[in-house]
């Protein structure tokens, strides 16, 4: 019936909206979007714009959005029954290794980790989700990790909830105890580098999810380059040591 090829936009309706503290919302959509955890979709709001977002869940397809600009504000104002358009999923996601996973998320970095936690828990693996933010009301998706049966570590830089400090410092003890068998990170780049270094120091496999402004989202335009890598196609998930090596080799504009 539909003439739309795989990579054209698919219209989806918002089924349910979950408030995510002061920061944003989770939009639970009708239908599914089979994807590997860490993959992203391009979300189009006709007349407003199109931006990449990690999938928080694939069945039902769900997006968690922090209000940071006009586009995300428009997404946050969507109501049940409203439509939005997705194309994808695109990119390379996380790879599960071992049976004990440490997930480290900064702010809305929790989003792709939620889908990863779902996959890991469905395989019966142990998951510790460490979520950090500047303040307690900027934390996202705690409910989701709790519902999936993950052990939760919360860190706030102002000490308003949980560990008083950065999430990187909060998980150091787990590294010291050699608890994780693999580490998965998403958040601001200094945090990605810090955790990749922590994991590398104890020889743990580590995957990080990067973020860049994108145009095509499918490996053509080069807008999202990170060194000679394209975040949309070679990533957004990279091995920690690949990211660290690319950081060293990258031009100043990408650092």
């Amino acid at each position: 019936m539909s003439r739309q090829p795989h990579h054209a936009h698919r219209a989806c309706r918002v089924n349910r909206v979950v408030c995510e503290g002061r920061v944003g919302v989770t939009l639970i959509l009708d239908g599914t979007m089979p994807a590997h955890p860490g993959q992203f979709v391009m979300v189009w709001l006709p007349g407003i714009g199109e931006r990449p977002f990690s999938l928080m869940d694939d069945d039902p397809a769900s997006l968690t959005v922090a209000r940071v600009g006009p586009f995300t504000s428009a997404l946050c104002e969507l109501q049940p029954g409203d439509r939005l358009w997705l194309r994808g999923p695109y990119g390379k996601g996380y790879e599960l290794a071992g049976r004990r996973h440490l997930l480290v998320g900064g702010g809305c970095g929790a989003v792709p980790l939620a889908l990863l936690a779902k996959l890991a828990r469905s395989q019966g693996n142990e998951v510790i989700a460490a979520l950090g933010a500047r303040t307690a009301d900027l934390l996202m998706l705690r409910w989701r990790f709790e519902a999936l049966g993950c052990q939760l570590i919360v860190a706030t830089e102002d000490g308003s909830l949980g560990y008083n400090g950065t999430v990187v410092a909060a998980v150091q003890e787990l590294f010291d105890d050699r608890w994780p068998e693999a580490v998965y990170v998403c958040g601001p780049e200094p945090m990605l580098r810090a955790v990749a270094i922590q994991a590398g120091a104890v020889g743990l496999p580590c995957w990080v999810s990067m973020e860049r402004a994108m145009k095509c989202g499918m490996g053509i335009c080069g807008t999202c380059h990170f060194g000679d890598r394209l975040v949309c196609r070679d990533g957004p998930v990279f091995e920690g040591r690949e990211m660290l090596a690319t950081c060293l080799g990258a031009s100043g504009s990408t650092m």
């Binding site: 006709p46 199109e50 080069g222």
Partner: protein
């Protein structure tokens, strides 16, 4: 030229037999006196925003690489959506986003430095509102000493802002070419538009005005894709240029007609996705072959795959070099 060929056919040294068989095939091309190790040229606008990705395309097998078009002043380009896979090709209206000629010069310098040891020539690409602006941007970019400068006078996605592309009118195209020729002594390519009934007249005019070679063609259209559920065009710019498989027959015809009429070399660009497509373009008369949308389907593996297919097809058909079938389709 400060350019030195790579040791050839390193990949064929495992057995004597393979070496003997494959080394009979020479994929090199001569583009305005510059030797390309193979005819595949990364087309402008694909990956070319930074030095690192250009170098990656070269490492992946490109015979030459073209940087993204730059203008005198930086441009943000069009808002998203800018690129769409519509099923038989791509449609794009990126809107010539670029950091401006001065910053582009630094990117090109870095790229050239890294490409030189690989033996892969660098093509810079420039566009502007007027012949004078073209000249000023060319002068900046020329300081990076790219092997070629390509004049993009044919982008179909900025018409509302730039007016009709120069490439739609032989006289306008010649004016730009002539002006740039006056300030730039290096190798000059001009990228033509398929969106004119007079592409041969444009090619003749541009050649007479001093172009050393042509790139044919830019994207087709502009076209439009409407999302029926959204009830509006998908691209934020409403219209965009069509590339990929849908463009190839048009591009092949353009190259065929142009090479009947002018003697300067042509980089045949438009929907080349396989070795057979590349051979077709060369049979139409192309000296080298642009690769764009194939990078979408295959990523960087596109270059190695197309070359392997071309080499195999040449072997099957008994060709040892590109010259043996270049332009042979002309009847």
């Amino acid at each position: 030229m400060g350019w030195w060929p790579l040791p050839m056919r390193r990949e064929c040294t495992n057995t004597w037999q393979v070496t003997a068989k494959v080394s009979l095939i020479d994929l090199s091309a001569d583009l305005c006196g510059v030797r390309l190790r193979n005819p595949l040229v990364l087309a402008s606008g694909i990956w070319g925003c930074c030095a690192e990705t250009l170098v990656r395309a070269a490492r992946a097998g490109a015979g030459a690489v073209t940087a993204k078009s730059c203008s005198l002043e930086p441009r943000k380009g069009h808002p998203n959506p800018t690129v769409l896979d519509w099923g038989v090709g791509l449609i794009n209206a990126v809107g010539l986003a670029n950091p401006g000629a001065a910053e582009e010069r630094d990117i090109l310098r870095a790229a050239r430095q890294a490409l030189e040891p690989l033996g892969v020539p660098l093509i810079a690409s420039v566009f502007g509102h007027s012949p004078g602006e073209f000249c000023r941007a060319v002068c900046l970019v020329a300081q990076a000493e790219p092997d070629f400068i390509e004049l993009n006078i044919s982008c179909p996605n900025v018409e509302s802002e730039f007016g009709r592309p120069f490439a739609l009118d032989p006289e306008a195209a010649a004016r730009v070419t002539e002006a740039v020729r006056g300030v730039y002594a290096g190798r000059l390519l001009v990228k033509l538009s398929p969106n004119t009934p007079d592409i041969v007249d444009v090619a003749r005019a541009v050649a007479a005005a001093g172009a050393d070679g042509l790139t044919a063609v830019n994207t087709l259209g502009p076209g439009m894709i409407i999302d029926v559920r959204a009830r509006r065009p998908v691209l934020a710019n409403l219209v965009g240029g069509i590339s990929g498989a849908a463009l190839r027959p048009v591009a092949v015809r353009c190259v065929y007609e142009i090479t009947e009429a002018v003697d300067i070399p042509v980089i045949g660009t438009g929907g080349v996705l396989s070795g057979e497509d590349a051979m077709e373009m060369i049979m139409a008369g192309a000296t080298a072959v642009g690769i764009g949308s194939a990078v979408y389907t295959d990523g960087e593996g596109a270059f190695a795959r197309i070359l392997a297919e071309l080499r195999e097809l040449m072997q099957e058909e008994g060709y040892r070099s590109l010259d043996q079938f270049r332009g042979c389709a002309h009847v």
